[in-house]
Amino acid sequence: MMETPALPVPEARSVIPAGLRGIFPVLVALVLLALFQWLVSESPFAVYLLSVMGVNIILAVSLNIVNGMTGQFSIGHAGFMAVGAYISGVLSLNLKEVALSFLPVAASDQVLFTVALLVGGLAAAACGFLVGLPSLRLRGDYLAIVTLGFGEIIRVVVQNTNAFGRALGLSGIPQYSSPYMVYFWVFLVVLVARRIAGSSHGRSLWAIREDEVAAEAMGVDTTGYKVRSFVISSFFAGIAGGLFAHFVPIINPGSFTFVKSMEIVVMVVLGGLGSTTGAIVAAILLTLLPEGMRSLFNALGTEGSLAQKVDQIRMPIYGLLLVVLMLSRPQGLFGVRELWDVLPRWIPRKRRGLS
């Protein structure tokens, strides 16, 4: 038997000692948490903004699994978010008075909250399965329209169901959510997305994205993989909705319209279809930018009208942004690369490639 010569293992150039490298992300997370603690103690608005940002990150990263990695185009993500928000919201409302006797009240609340979140996420995942199964057998454009239609169906169902508060929405959902909980789920979704991208499962997804016919010819069960990525993605959208429902005073069908779906799509496309960190960066940018502009206009002392216009102008700008992006830089900010691939040289980076 011929002996294959051992390939030279490229020496990882890093300023971090080898022993610390494994826990480096955790250290970063600790620093971030400390920063959180500081921000959270500053103002309730910061708490709210951080939570919204986290929810948007979860939505963008989860949508990226379908739109970016698998190359399918879903534009009904807000529908899955709505399923999660309403299911977990109703659950929490009904379990408000319940407390687990063997736990302190705060802990019991968080346990119930987690259960509600999971149920909401699973309901959204089930919807993802139901919608995905017929439409993912078809070409990408059908999926786009069916997901859009699904979002509309959800909206109409909510508007016609008494338990969901009809058009008025649900209020009085216990405010269990905290930035810690939100960013715990951000951590989870990023972990899952990155693990998928690096796994053999992810390789199949990339193959489907690049050329579905070729992937099928190579024996990839394209429908199966597409449905699975769809289910994972909608699960996290449901979680994001559940988190959202537990820190805003009221949820109504107006929070989960086509506009919200488009916002998430813009985040994913801007960050780069297929780039998890790109989705994160774009989600942070598109959450902070409108807020920043609003505060800027307010600070400049211009009439309130200009600050209010920020919200109005945002939507047409998103549309134009998509067009300009597609014409000039269709791969988005990062393409399929991750943040560490585009950072300057002196920062330690992972090896090139998709993983």
Binding site: G71, F73, I75, V131, P134, S135, R137, L138, R139, G140, D141, Y142, A144, I145, V146, L148, G149, F150, E152, I153, V156, V157, Q159, N160, E212, V213, A214, F258, M262, V265, V269, L273, K309, Q312, I313, M315, P316, Y318, G319, L320, L321, L322, V323, L325, M326, L327, P330
Partner: protein
């Protein structure tokens, strides 16, 4: 029985308007394999053009036959121009790129138009719906029993216009040189170009034709609804798209049948169930059709050639 007949009439009237919009989707899809998401919004812009023209004409002029013709002409020509510009500057540069790129662009244009028109800056109309002026004086033409079954004149007019346009389109696609060029481009635009067909011009003309049809349909819709709003394009456009897919996208008679079926289904839901469920049923019906016949009623799922 009379009630059933009335619902049938209303459903068919709604269906013909969907059909005209659906034809635009189907034609563009036929030549470019692109779902022109902005189609409904082009329609909305056309309706606003007609609205502006109607006001410019004044009450007397817009009620005359000539006035109505002028309103339709302005809207349809304006939309043809808009369709041309969108194709030239947004879709043509992306023609050789992956299909997803063009789809995202189309969604972007749709979004920019429908939300751009909600701003109240400059000539833009603002978000609130406006009343579309009366251009055809409403008349009840046929009354069976004691107002049991009513046919409005605008229902008959829009039905006739829609049927005439469909017949003209069918003639254009299957009996003319241009139609043959369209079908060739639809089959394979690279080979068509090699055979000396000016593909760019054919595609641009198809876009203009589809956009003009949409403007006409939009005006009929606005006359029926007596209102116009920036979001009407999104909703009517979506319904028309659903109709095109139900009939089998890319198939001209299929789009018409799909639209009539959708119009009837919606009307019966409104009539016998609850009007609030209408939008959900349309999409539910779409998913059902795709489940049973993935290519739509008339379309065939062609294996993708490599």
């Amino acid at each position: 029985m009379a009630q059933l007949l009335q619902h049938l009439i209303n459903g068919l009237a709604a269906g013909t308007i969907y059909a005209l919009v659906a034809l635009g989707y189907t034609m563009v899809y036929g030549v470019l394999k692109l779902i022109n998401f902005a189609h409904g919004d082009v329609m909305m812009v056309g309706v606003y053009m007609g609205y502006a023209t109607a006001f410019a004409l004044g009450r007397e002029a817009r009620n005359s036959l000539l006035g109505v013709a002028l309103i339709f002409a302005v809207a349809m020509l304006g939309c043809a121009l808009l369709g041309f510009l969108i194709e030239r500057f947004a879709y043509r540069p992306l023609r050789e790129k992956p299909r997803l790129t063009a789809l995202i662009t189309a969604i972007g244009i749709s979004f920019a138009l429908s939300y751009g028109f909600q701003l109240d800056i400059g000539f833009l109309p603002g978000a609130s719906p406006r009343a579309f002026p009366e251009v055809i004086e409403p008349k009840e033409w046929i009354v069976i029993g004691d107002r049991d079954v009513v046919v409005w004149n605008w229902q008959v007019i829009s039905f006739l216009i829609a049927v005439a346009l469909m017949v003209a389109l069918q003639y254009l696609v299957f009996r003319t040189r241009f139609g043959r060029a369209m079908r060739a481009v639809s089959w394979d635009h690279r080979v068509a170009a090699l055979m000396g067909i000016p593909t760019d011009r054919v595609i641009a003309l198809t876009f203009m034709l589809g956009s003009a049809l949409a403007a006409g349909a939009g005006l009929l819709y606005a006359i029926k609804d007596t209102s116009v709003s920036p979001l009407m394009g999104l909703y009517v456009g979506l319904k028309a798209f659903v109709a095109a897919v139900i009939g089998g996208i890319g198939h001209v008679p299929g789009a018409v049948v799909g639209a009539l079926v959708l119009g009837l289904v919606e009307e019966f839901v409104v009539g016998y169930a609850a009007s609030t469920w209408r939008d959900a049923v349309a999409f539910g019906f779409l998913i059902l059709v795709l489940l049973v016949k993935p290519g739509g009623l008339f379309g065939r799922v062609a294996a993708e050639k490599v």
